[in-house]
Amino acid sequence: MNENDIVKEFLVESYENLDRLDRDLVGLEKNPQDREALAGIFRTIHTIKGTCGFLGFGNLEKVAHVGENLLTRLRDGQLTLSPEITTALLGMVDAVRQMLRQIESSGKDGESDYPDLRERLTRLQHAGVATSPKAAATAESANSVKAIEAPDPPAEVDSASATITAATPGKQQESETRHAAEMPQPAPRVAEDEQGQHTAQTPSMQASASESTVRVHVGLLDKVMTLVGELVLSRNQVLQFASRMRDPAFLAATQHLNLITTELQEGVMKTRMQPIGNIWGQFPRTVRDVALGCGKQVEIEMEGKETELDKTIIEAIKDPLTHLVRNSVDHGIELPAERIKKGKDPAGRLKLHAFHEGGQVNIEISDDGAGLNEQKIRAKAVDRGIVSAEQAGRMTEHEISNLIFLPGFSTAEKVTKVSGRGVGMDVVKTNVERIGGSVDVHSVAGQGTTVRVKIPLTLAIIPALVVTCGGDRYAIPQLSLLELVRLEADKVAKGIELVHGAPVYRLRGRLLPLVYLERELQLAANANATASGDGAVNIVVLQAGDRQFGLVVDQINDSEEIVVKPLRKQLKTIKTFAGSSIMGDGKIALILDVLGLAQRASVITESHERALGERSMEGTAGAAEKQTFLLFAGPGGSRMAIPLSTLARLEEFPVSQVEVSGSQWVTQYRGQILPLVRLSVVLEERRAKLRALRAPPAPDSGPVQVLVLNHEGRWFGLVVEQILDIVEDPADVRMAATRASVLYSVVIGGRVTELLDIPAILRSAEPNLVRHSAAAGAAEGAS
């Protein structure tokens, strides 16, 4: 490693540390007692100072040195953090950053040694404390330890005593322990290290944090990703070849290759993903600076930091987001006095919230400030000739709010002053749109403004349902997916009704508008347009905005994780597609944009105010921890549920189709014999069970409600009394089961519900099934 490499390493590491420093300092201001954070800040500056001394950057060393001295005093508890000190320290961070940039561009740390800043830092260091000379001496001595001259300064004695005191931390010894922590070690490790070695002070102490990560060039990652794609294709060819071979050893090897390739593919895809928290990290500092600058108090709150985005997108949205955050503080949140007058908390709240929704990443920046002034925006828009007076009169509040994104609006400073928003908002919009996203603003006068940035999931990995239509495959983001319904051939005519020509399906008593994918995509309609060979109709129930609709497709294949690739700019105008993806076999599938599709099919229009299924809307908006359950009535009307994930389909069979094979109810279903397990029998007491088992279905009873399940590769139907609902619920209130075949009782949707144990039910029904396939007749009860 030559010196250049060392400098480069130093720069990269220092930049990273400085970013953390901003965050830590602002955090520290809120919680000045956080000694660990203070120690962390100290370590960072100490490292920078040490390294640049070694590399010969004198000016940088000087600045870091005074900063370190001030930090020493803070850490030792001789000074408490004041906003003034924080500002000075942040100023030092900025100076250090500036010098690092100079080093990067010119290889030198610049001419200036920042005398003003150093003077200010020194003054703060000595302010109001009598024991300053000692503190300075301590700092000096620490530095000499660092330089491995070790002339045994007084501080060494302190350190030694700290070895003992650290084990029994008392109030008084606290500060001495801190002396010992001069060594840039994480606080808890100090005592331990010193027992082993007296001078543990290498500048590589950050190894503990960075050992687990390696810096890799993104270009290399891209290349690896492409190669893995190639590998997947080759793997598929090998697998096809292997299917014609009879050599077990070869088959085992290909199986192994298959598994490894899949894992490798997943691993590589994940390497490019970064949590959005990486760019949010700097926002507390931004907010603090802006708020301080205009005399406001602002608290920042972040949610969904872990939401992952592709690295390139993260970088592209960094500036627009920063701008929005600054804007919210600068213009959105009112001055403390004004807020008190309005009965608000003097400290404004700024909330950042990131989450995946509808196959997109949403980032919301909301404040609880004054909101936009509709009247003034309206007036100004007319004044500037952006809209006519008549147009403005017709515009909704929401449309008016979004005028602030127009270029004509933002450049005018006067408008900015009046409307409170607008500088550079068009730039934000342009930048977000460049990566295929959108910006939208919602404002409630007096209550605040929310800006929502939607970013496509370009390159993000999403779970999707793959369907076939017109011979091609399409992927539907799982997020929009509610449920799947299969209508058997003989039900199609009855199941699908028309409302003046518009097809609808009755889904649990509500009309679900149907959209035929083949027609919407204008695919060559064959004679039996939507039938999947056997005449059955597959309906994918989707959520678009606040509405639901059923998408009719030829075939439902499978759900899998796909990597989204953007479409070319000119194809992006087709709103029906959100992107494309390469499937496992190397072929391409288009990803449907559920919202765009709904708009195309006119499911969503302004006038069409009929919202379907409010309850499930509440459900889908809920948190990720919630589970989705299928609710149904069991024997005797008892409320029962199974996790929706275990369900394959919901079916309804007329009694005439239910046949009795021995004691087992069966039905012919998609060319197979589907055993029907009756809940009423499984849950019955043993004696009554025998009788019930043999009874054929009463000929006059209504159709049989069946949950079609697949357990370990075997299909079976669970006969229930009535299907009630699909709900999302955390189901965290639980009680042990009171009978067999029930996992436990839970509270779902505010009512006690029995959650069924599917494997147990099968076990109790299985002996029958097995016996029937071997020799019909033996209809002894279940185990």
């Binding site: 190639e230 390469i582 190397g586 288009l590």
Partner: protein, 144 residues
């Protein structure tokens, strides 16, 4: 010495076309195509070029030529456009030719219609004319 440039040539409906060699990424035989419903007619579909999704443009349609007879396998001339790689579907690949600047001539006034914007001009080769295509214009997906 006169300034020369190299062209990658190909045939469409028996006409000879050329694009500047430096704009060509690669030439590959026909690949499996995924059609894009609702896309403009000139878009033949998407192809998977080693993990990269590339749009294929039906150059015959782009140049208002008769559709290729059924069953022909088009070749892909993958070119670099401003908006990433685009595959131009052609009938047959020709040689790489080196031409002098002096053999170039703008299209005659009698060449009318929107095709004019795609065809920059012709190079007068010994035995025939080579139509020079504007890569950016050829990659545009709106109907001509």
């Amino acid at each position: 010495m006169a300034e020369t440039s190299q062209f990658c040539t190909f045939y469409l409906d028996k006409l000879l076309f050329g694009v500047e060699l430096c704009g060509v990424q690669e030439v590959i035989r026909s690949l499996e195509m995924t059609k894009v419903p609702l896309a403009p007619g000139v878009v033949s579909g998407l192809i998977n070029l080693r993990g990269q999704i590339v749009t294929a443009v039906d150059l015959r349609r782009r140049l208002e030529l008769a559709p290729a007879p059924a069953g022909t396998h088009a070749m892909n001339v993958v070119v670099r456009s401003e908006d990433g790689a685009v595959s131009l579907l052609v009938d047959e690949i020709g040689d790489v030719v080196e031409v002098e600047q002096s053999s170039f001539e703008a299209p005659p006034e009698t060449l009318r219609g929107s095709v004019r914007s795609v065809i920059l001009g012709v190079h007068k080769l010994k035995d025939r004319l080579m139509h020079v295509l504007d890569i950016e214009k050829a990659c545009q997906m709106t109907e001509v």
